[in-house]
Every structure is written in C-alpha cells, then in structure tokens.
Symmetry: D2
Subunit: 257 residues, 4 copies
C-alpha cells in the first residue's frame, strides 16, 4: 500500500500573539514543522506544540528560520554560511531540549521561509543547513524540494531525505516553484489542488503548469493552515488519499526503509 | 587529595560586541558557565566558546538567564514559574545542540544573574529551574548556593548538586551573600580573597564578615573575569590551591562519586 | 454640557501577528493609546494606526511600555528609574516622529501594562515616566489613575493630567483597583459596566465594590477591545453617555482649559 | 576660508556591551552619527552620546540601520521600501525625542551599514530613506555618497545634502568604493590616508586607485574609530586640514548656505 505524509508549519504563535490554526491542522496532518523561537514560536508555545503533536500522533520536526520575528522569517537576510550553520544548530538543539523535557522526539527538520528559499538555490547556504542538521543528529530526516540545492546538500551530508511537494503551489517545467506574484503561482481551488496532488503522488511525478510531467520521489506534501481554503485543501487531500488507498503516516515512519 | 573546581561565566559576547576575558579565564578555571543566547552569547559565540573550553580541558555548563540582552540578565523580570521552566529548557537544549555539533558535552548548569538571585529565595522559581534541568538531563550537575532555595529544589528534583562559594563576595552569619552596595559585599583585594577562599575550602566552612564559621559542602568556587583584580584573584587562587595540595578539576569529575 | 473621553489601547499588532480589534474600536473611542514598538507595535503598524486614528477623528497618545514583546509589557521588569526615563523618551519620540511623517499629532501619553502598574505605586518610577513626558513635550496630557503615584509625579512635573477610570474594573474603598484574581476585580456584564460608568462620570466619583463613593476628577474612561464583551461595553457606554447628554470628545480637547 | 566636516559613527554601545572609542573620537570629529537602537545603541547610550556630543560642540545626526543588533546592521536584509521608510522614520523620531529631552538637536541623518550600501545602488530603497528623513524634518541634512542612488533620492526629496568621502577607502574610476576584500579597498596607512584626503578636499575631486580625478562636491569626510590606525588617521586629518587652512566645522553649519 502506497503511503504519503502531510506536513504543515505549527507553533508559530508568540507570547500573547496567536497565529495559525494549529488545533485544526493537527487533526489533518501527519508531520508538524515546529517553529524554534527565531521567526516565530517561543519556549512556552514550543512546549505546548510538542505535547499537542505527540497527543495527535503527529511526527515532530524542527523548523528553523532567520532571527526575524517582525518579518516572520520571510525576509532574506544575508548571513555567512558559518553563521547560518550555528543558528540552525541552536534552534534544532533548543527544540530537541524541549522534546526531551516533554517526552517527545524530533525526527525531521525543515528549514523555514526565506532561509529555505535561499538555500534551495545557494549551495553554500544549503550545505550550512545540512551540516547543522547532520551535526546535531545524523539520523534526522531532512525535508527538501526535489532538484534543489538543499536536496544535493542533504545527500552530500549523508542525511536521510524527505522530498516535498506543495499542495497549493504551481510548478514550472524544471519542477521549480513558480515565484509568488506570477500567474499560476498559487492554486486557490481546494478541489483542484487535492486532485492534482493525488495525481502527483500516484504517478510519482510533478506536473508543471504547462502539463509537463517530471518524475520525482515524493515523500511528503506540504499544506498550509493560514487560510480557510488551505485547511479545506488539507481536508480534501486526506479524503482523496484515503479513497485512493494511499496511507497517511508521519514521514519519519514512511522513510524508515 | 582534596579537590576543588573553579568556575566562571564565559561566552557572553554578542555579535560584534566583545565582553569578558574568556581567553585568559580559560587558562585559570576548570569549569565554564556558557551563556545561551538570552542574556548574552549568540550561536557563533557559543560554538567558539565550547570549542575553546574543550581544547582547554575545561568542563562545560549551561548558563541560562532572562531574555534581556540590554540588561545582561541582571534585571529581575517577573515571569510565571511555568514560563521560566520552558525558558531554561530551551536554553539548555540549545547549548546541548551546539555541544553535539562540536563534539563537546554539557555537564553542568548554573543559572545566571537576576534569575539565579530570585531563584535563591523563591522556591517556585527554584523548582522551575531545577525541573527544567532534570527534564533535559537528570545527570546534569546543578550549581547552587548552599542554603538557598535552589539547593533545596535541586535536591528535590533529584539532581546531583555542586555547592558554590564566591571568591569575591562577603557572607553574612546565615551564609548568605551580603547584598551589593552594603559594606563588605565585595572583596577587592585579590590576596585576601584567595587566602580566605583557601580557608573556606580547607575547613569546609563559609566564614562570615563577623568571623562566624558555617560548615557547608564546597564543590566549586566562582571567580569573575570582568576586572583585572578578578583575573588576579583567579590566578592567586590557583597558586594557593596548588601550594596547599588541593587539586583543581572540573566539577563534573570531582562530583562523580 | 458635560464631556468625557473614551480611551483604548491600539496598534499592538506586530509584523504578521494581528492582535486587538482596532478597526471596531476606532469607531467607538475618542482617544487611542498607540503602542510604540516595545511591548507591541512596529513602525509599519504605528504608521497605519496613526493614519486610521486621524481619519476617525480620534486623539492620539503614546503608549510606552517595557521592551518585552513576549510578555506584551505585562511582566514587571526591575529597571533603574534613569533607564525607564530614557526608555520612555525613546518611545514617545519614535511615535512623534511617525506622527510628523503622517501629518498627525501625539497629544497624550499613557504608560502601558506592568510599567503603569509599578509606576502607580513607586514614586521614583512615576517620576521617571513623568519626567520623560515633560522632557519631550511639556504640553502633553499625562493619563493617570486618580490617587496614584503617577498622578502625583505628573503634577510635580507640571504636566496637564487626564484622570482615568476603568470601565471593566472593580475599585476598593481607597479608589484603587481590586487586583486581578480577586473577587470583583473584573466586571463582566457590559450593561452593568456601562451603567456604573455613567454614574461615575455624572456624579464625579468612583464607587467601590462596597458601595463607598470617592469623589475624583474623571477625564477619560478606559475601555478594552480584547474581548467581545469589552467591545460591547464600549458600545453601550457611547449610547448611555449620548442618552444622558454627556458629550464624547478626545481628551486633549476636553482638557484644553 | 575653505571648510570641511569630519564625521564618525558614535553611540553604538548596547547595555553592558561597550564598543568604539567615543570619547577619543569626540575630540577629533565635528559631526557624530548616533546609532538609534536598532543596529546598535540603546536609549541610555543615546542620551549619554547626545549630551557628550553637545558638550564637545559636535553636530548630531541620526544613524538609522537595520534592526539587527547581532549583525551590527551590516547584514543586508530584504525589506519592502515601505517598511524601510517606516523603520527609518521611527529611529529618527526616537533620536529627536531624546534630543528634545536633552536640550540638543538632530541636524543630519546618515544611513548605516548594509542599509546604506543597498540604498546607494537601489533607487527604491534610497527613496524610502530620503522620504523618511524629509517626512520627519525637511531641513535635515542628508549625508550621501556622491553619485549614489541616495544622492539622487535626497535631491528628489528636496533635502539639503552633505556629500561624503571616506578617509580609509579606495575608489574606482567611477568614484564608487572598491568593495571590501578587493585590493585597494582599505587604506591602512594613516599618513597616506590623511594626505590623500586633504588632496580630495583641496582639489574638490575624488582620486581613484588608478589615479583618475573625478570632480565632486565634498562636504564631509567619514573617519572611523574602531581601530588605533583609524583614530590616528582622524588625528592626522585634523592636523593637515589645520596646516592647510581648511576650517573644521559641523556639517550643518558648513551647509547653511
């Protein structure tokens, strides 16, 4: 029976500031990327998120980002790779510490926001991220976009990889994301998004806007929780996968092969 | 052969800002309390400090404090014990992550500044700190002032304890520190400070300003590195201990009993 | 015709984090206390808030607080009065700068959260706040709780004062707020809160939980916007004041005497 | 009698962290660019710096930068021009507030570090900075590199401009700075730097590494204070200008024409 993972970003609230739909998402996803206090999240939020994820049987990953709460980690910051590596180690370590304290476990890492975008195309930043993960835990799953510099860096660092596709984003013929702001960058129709994603997973291929099919390994599907339609997409995805006989399970279980 | 540890706070630089005399101190002390990025330190500084401490054969401890870089962790902040616990877990975890990445090990924890002061006299904050340490690593040495709420909390949490005295601070008849600003709070003469400290260690007793001797277990002596006289005190202490046949060794080795 | 002001805290969102019901509140209040980027708010939010307040004909005040975004300025931080003074000057200055840039004007100052609470009972902190306001703009209205150390400090600093009562808080027989957590601290019924507040304003007296009446000058009523019932209280207050012939106008107009 | 200004960055210390040689520099320069709490500085440091500058008869300017204390404002951060504008307004406002409170005056603005570098070549960021200054105070001198996008933006915003050259940096044939790391980027010999700078000022031209002379208006010379040789360069510059009959005066006086 084929299997897939659904991942989403969680635990991005901060102090009195609430953001996201964590409770709803936890019922839909199988892996959570937990903010580590730099672009979002704080120690109390991290603790709550780890406990909630574990209660829901959802796999837990570190979600390190730039130290930019105001920009939510979405603003590119030019840091030396060496600084990035230390920053990522710090955040993963902090989350692992919280996992120890809550009797939970951190089994994957997905880089957040602008740092992810930059590391997808800059090999030295990609290696900084991969080295950081490998240095803290060489068994940790490294979530990467197929074809990106992050994938190459993760492989070079000897990390187990989880290849990711995005439920609500359009792809070009090189299997890269269509940049936000360009036509077709975002899929706004949950029905269409879910149907397309099932096709990706069943055929083992990314389908570009022009209809080209690019075979890739797909281990996890990223869904978002920051809009009603995003939640609806996640709900539909679960239904479609179930109806099609595709099992949903946390990426760290699916990849134990 | 009797033994003692010398500990000092290290790694409190931040970005372009340098503070302390880490290089000099590392030649004198046997255990380093490493700032974890909240009251001082940053991921790059933490990495450098761990590597330098390990090279020098110096034991490594976490030194968590309030998230108050401007106040250097010295301003009391009223947080709920639950928040403090999460905050301390986070910082210890971050340092352990960095230790993994550098092939070093975190073997003790000493709470920093205002949080330490508050936790010495507030049992709920003391328990929050002790629970945090025990939750991340129940084998971690917990550095405490004899007679403080932190000592009681550490014992209750089942943590191995390292009792600490201060080379440059005066004590009252209850073995508590004379508050800064009061007469006798600070010992400014390195010779006198070193001589007194050797007496503390050899007799196993704190000596108050009035001359009263209060027997306590003494596992480690805190020295500072933020003034020429503090460095001189540390140098003299090493000489006196050596001359008196008191071995210097990292606290986590001394306490492995 | 008697007149009163309704004030509320606004502009406490931060980056991607939204908090409060600013749009709804702006239709109900006559003066806005605008966060200055330390406990909440950021430069973009400040600009938007000033423009929205000006469009709504609502008076604008600075709302400086502790540099504690995670604690939303509600955690007491022990700072030297001298530091507090500089911190308050900085925040008022930043808001005035933004007001210049938006063609608006800052006409009052209300200290936020824990700093306000502490300054209500600690004369040296109260004087630090009052001196800061007077140093930046001696014509700026200083919002104070009648009978507090802030009121005394504001008077001593020669500032024009706006005495404030709270729509949803209970008072004791000394006209002080019943501490949160104690019975009667919060009034949860909007009808009752609005009726009581109209009585306060019409009689010129605070009424304690025990029924005692303490005559005080009342220039402004603080309403909150962080719950549906708080918004409802504000709505009812407007109605009651209108029905009773009490005019609503920004505090800086009401006090131009 | 010809005149020139010497400017330097000041007030970049933060809390317990000291940086720079402010006291020495204040005896040498005629205009100080005062950090505004984002890339360096804090409210207390700002107050001290303004008072010290005023005592020394040194002109005061705002020195806004990215909100990046760890990177000291030297790391490029990709922000929307609209965000940059608000951020610059905020910082200038805060410094003006502190100037009011200390009886001093802010008469120029020089953008700091990475933001300056980016705004030199990106017209939309340059306009954001210039609009911010003009919105707060259209009389404020705007310090710009001749030929940069900042110069064009300042002119378009109607700001009075102070054209700046760098005492210790090499120029290419387009009068642009040779990027750090390339040969000739830095002048390390104080004698040579001072002699060259006098030539720049006397001839009204920048001289490139290849010996090309590019005529530009020169209103102020930037010196640094972060190395012994930088201080020495500043000292020599004063001597050379004095010997050559070039008067030193704050840029806001020199430009009152």
């Amino acid at each position: 029976m084929p299997a897939i993972d659904l991942n989403a970003d969680l635990g991005e609230s901060f102090g009195a500031y609430r953001i996201g739909c964590d409770a709803e998402l936890l019922k839909l996803i199988t892996s959570a990327n937990v903010a580590c206090g730099f672009h979002g999240g704080d120690p109390v939020v991290m603790r709550e998120t780890l406990l909630a994820a574990a209660r829901g049987g959802v796999g837990i990953g570190a979600h390190p980002g730039f130290a930019d709460l105001q920009g939510f980690g979405r603003r590119p910051i030019r840091m030396a790779p060496d600084e990035v590596e230390a920053m990522v180690v710090y955040q993963i370590g902090a989350l692992i510490g919280m996992a120890r304290a809550t009797g939970t476990a951190v089994t994957h890492c997905k880089v957040h926001g602008a740092l992810n975008n930059m590391a997808c195309v800059e090999p030295d930043l990609a290696m900084a991220c991969a080295r950081a993960v490998a240095a803290v835990d060489p068994e940790m799953l490294f979530v990467v976009m197929p074809g990106s510099a992050l994938e190459a860096a993760g492989a070079q660092a000897g990390l187990p990889l989880a290849r990711e596709v995005f439920a609500d984003r359009g792809y070009d013929d090189a299997a890269m994301l269509v940049p936000r702001g360009q036509p077709g960058a975002m899929l706004h129709d949950p029905e269409e998004a879910a149907t397309r994603m099932l096709r990706f997973v069943e055929t083992g291929a990314i389908e570009s806007l022009s209809g080209k099919r690019i075979p890739v390994q797909i281990d996890t599907v990223c869904v978002h929780g920051d809009s009603p339609e995003a939640l609806e997409t996640a709900r539909l995805l679960r239904q479609r996968f179930a109806a099609a006989g595709v099992a949903l399970r946390p990426m760290h279980r699916g990849l134990a092969r």
